[in-house]
């Protein structure tokens, strides 16, 4: 992914000439430089990109296997379940809430899938639908408790964390573990299915072409309306950079097994959420609710509906992540969704640049954040360091990310951009 901040930055270019308004002359102010933005606390995705580069370099120095095609292929697949859960966490953080129960909900979803699919013998699609429906219901329930009774989401989902872990253990029964058959489509999707190289390259080319086409259409529309627009050079350069970057990545991964379908699915979800957040009125109302709930309410935004949707999105995405995790493991057991899944997902969202204070963050935060988390985990595993070290390092990185968020926020306040 190229830096998505580039999508919105062209508007900062000098305003179109010939506007009769008295203030547009002032709008012809200097383009905000990158360093200005950074000092002003407008960090965007830069810290996480820099962090990712540092981690990759350090890990590669410590163990030359780290950046091998085989390991990166694995890393991409391993990132997906937690990444999808983190995508849901981004949604609730954006509206200024939190969901601490994503791990439990993902584990419960995996258990429901396994019980219905294996024990009850239902078709896979029905088991998946039922699991999704249950997760959506959980999110709806959280939202109702929050909207009607006014319990903070922190407490509701803390209850959910424990409660749904209990339900998970209960429905798994005394056996405690259910294996998913290897010949089922679910396991194949999560473990074995990779894009054929021609398709992967085609997707890269289509992606770059779509990026250019949408950018050019937008720029043309803006120019027709007399507004500042991105230059052709910028648009072409951006698309070529995407083409080169993704092309190289695909080429490198294809030296091993290639690009997993599951990772493509994750990318599709990220892009879909990115579209919703940046191009729809619902996305704007999510930012508004997270930024100033009272202002959003007075502006006519249905705040309760926005909160409900955010909670439902979060638990539903947690369910998808849980089901993929179980499919990848080919089993749902008592520890599905347990351990560090919960905190890794929340940490990924925050490390990716989603503010814990609400109203700030993008869908790409989940993608980049989870890559950081999984890179640390993968690198330390390659060094034969057990989870003790992984927890410590991940905890340190999380603390660093949250501190960065807090410092950036303070800097925004002092630069008048809170």
């Amino acid at each position: 992914m190229t830096e998505p901040a580039a999508v919105t930055s062209p508007e900062l270019a000098p305003a179109g000439a010939g506007k009769p308004t008295t203030w547009s002359g002032r709008a012809r102010s200097r383009r905000r430089t990158v360093s200005d933005r950074l000092r002003g606390g407008d960090l965007g995705l830069l810290p996480v990109l820099a962090g990712l580069v540092v981690i990759w370099v350090v890990m590669q120095i410590l163990n030359p296997v780290f950046l091998s095609s085989a390991n990166l292929t694995n890393l991409a697949l391993e990132s997906v379940p937690v990444g999808i859960i983190a995508l849901g966490v981004v949604c609730v953080l954006l509206v200024g809430q939190i969901d601490l129960s994503v791990g439990s909900v993902s584990g419960l979803s995996a258990a429901v899938l396994a019980v219905l699919f294996v024990d009850r013998g239902l078709p896979a699609w029905l088991a998946v639908t039922a699991s999704l429906a249950l997760a959506a219901l959980i999110g709806w329930f959280y939202a109702q408790v929050h909207n009607r009774i006014g319990v903070p989401s922190f407490v509701i989902t803390l209850g959910g964390l424990l409660g749904f872990l209990g339900v998970q253990l209960w429905i798994l029964g005394p056996k405690g573990s259910i294996n998913l058959p290897f010949d089922s489509g679910l396991v194949a999707f999560a473990q074995l299915q990779f894009l054929p190289p021609w398709l992967a390259y085609t997707l890269v080319v289509v992606g770059a072409a779509v990026l250019y086409a949408t950018g050019a259409a937008r720029a043309a529309e803006r120019r027709r309306a007399g507004l500042a627009a991105a230059s052709r050079r910028l648009l072409v350069g951006r698309s070529l950079a995407l083409l080169a970057g993704l092309g190289a990545a695909v080429w490198y991964l294809n030296r091993d097994r290639g690009v997993g379908w599951m990772f493509v699915f994750f990318l599709a979800l990220v892009l879909a959420l990115h579209y919703v957040l940046s191009r729809t009125s619902f996305g704007k109302s999510m930012y508004a609710v997270g930024g100033n709930m009272e202002a959003a309410r007075r502006a006519g935004v249905d705040v309760k509906a926005v909160l409900t949707t955010a909670f439902v999105l979060c638990t539903t995405l947690a369910c998808i992540g849980g089901m993929l995790s179980a499919s990848r493991l080919a089993a749902a057991n008592q520890s599905s969704g347990g351990g560090d899944v919960n905190l890794n997902a929340i940490a990924a969202a925050v490390i990716g640049g989603t503010s814990l204070f609400g109203g700030r963050g993008t869908a790409f935060a989940a993608l980049l954040g989870v890559l950081v988390i999984q890179s640390i985990s993968s690198g330390l595993t390659l060094l034969n360091l057990d989870s003790a070290y992984r927890f410590m390092v991940t905890g340190g990185v999380l603390l660093l990310a949250v501190s960065l968020d807090a410092v950036a926020r303070r800097s925004r306040v002092s630069h008048g951009r809170a």
Binding site: F282, A288, N292, A295
Partner: protein
């Protein structure tokens, strides 16, 4: 409806756009408003002044649909209306800019202007929204560096402008501004006062709640004084002196403000007295500009 405001030169012909008659509102045993009348004409700036607890905020909340009056009628346009909710007020065309402005600081100017009424919700029409935002702010001669900066980067006066511009998108007939110049600097206050004059040029009825007598006298056409929840006079802003207003607000010609003014004058140069403000000696009723009393409700 009584044609009680004929003495004011600023009022266009025709009936008032908004006319309150006998509005009363109690909160338990506390009577916040008693039998209050108020008229606002199109293209007129009415300043609503009064001391703390005079009922200004309650009156604003009645008009914006937050509170329901216990008694009295609200005439709007050609009939009487009831305003059971803020949404109803907005639908009628009564827009209120509260003191906290209610802007989302993390969103940019365009997003704030169109929040809750975005064009083409499933694929935002950002170009049209930006063009309309710039046109609107241009009409208001607003000094906003760029419509793409987050509101957090704007000054207090600029934020006030954005908040007022947002209400204009709903095409209101009456705009109520709650303390628009409180907490603003000198230059920013002047900007907001210019903006209020531009609202008058757009033939909107403007109600401006304020504590600042200088601002009130600078832009208002008429000044309605509330005291202890009752009307305490409507003044022509061009003729009323600050002393008249202060006397009406405090309910006493000999008040702490006039005593202070008198003390300053006694210490200062007596010879310039005639050119400046009159000492707080006259009763408001004697000034000849008071046009309405609480007793003449129809």
């Amino acid at each position: 409806m009584t044609a009680e405001s004929l003495s004011s030169p600023h009022e266009p012909s025709g009936g008032p756009l908004l006319s309150l008659r006998g509005i009363s509102k109690s909160f338990g045993a506390v009577a916040a408003l008693t039998d209050v009348d108020l008229d606002v004409f199109a293209g007129q700036v009415v300043a609503l002044v009064g001391d703390n607890g005079a009922g200004k905020s309650t009156l604003v909340k009645v008009l914006s649909g937050v509170h329901q009056p216990d008694a009295g009628t609200v005439g709007f346009g050609h009939g009487t209306v009831s305003i059971p909710s803020p949404a109803t007020a907005q639908r009628l065309g009564i827009a209120t800019v509260f003191q906290d402005l209610a802007l989302c600081e993390n969103l940019n100017v365009v997003e704030n202007l169109f929040l809750g009424r975005e064009l083409r919700g499933l694929r935002l029409d950002e170009v049209t929204m930006e063009v309309r935002s710039r046109a609107l702010l241009g009409e208001l001669s607003a000094k906003i560096p760029s419509v793409r900066v987050p509101v957090a980067a704007l000054s207090g006066g600029q934020r006030q402008t954005v908040a007022i511009a947002r209400t204009l998108l709903g095409d209101p007939k009456v705009i109520i501004l709650d303390e628009p110049t409180a907490a603003l600097g000198v230059a920013q206050t002047a900007e907001v006062l210019n903006l209020i004059e531009r609202l008058r040029e757009r033939v909107l009825g403007v109600i401006m709640v304020s504590h600042n007598m200088a601002d009130v006298r600078a832009v208002a056409d008429t000044v309605a004084v509330l005291r202890l929840g009752r009307n305490n006079g409507v003044f022509d802003a061009a003729e009323a002196t600050a002393a008249d207003l202060v006397a009406a607000i405090t309910g006493a010609t000999d008040n702490v403000v006039s005593r202070r003014a008198g003390r300053d004058r006694a210490m200062g140069d007596r010879s310039v007295r005639a050119g400046g403000e009159r000492a707080g000696g006259e009763r408001p009723a004697d000034s000849g500009t008071e046009t309405a009393h609480k007793g003449d409700a129809s």
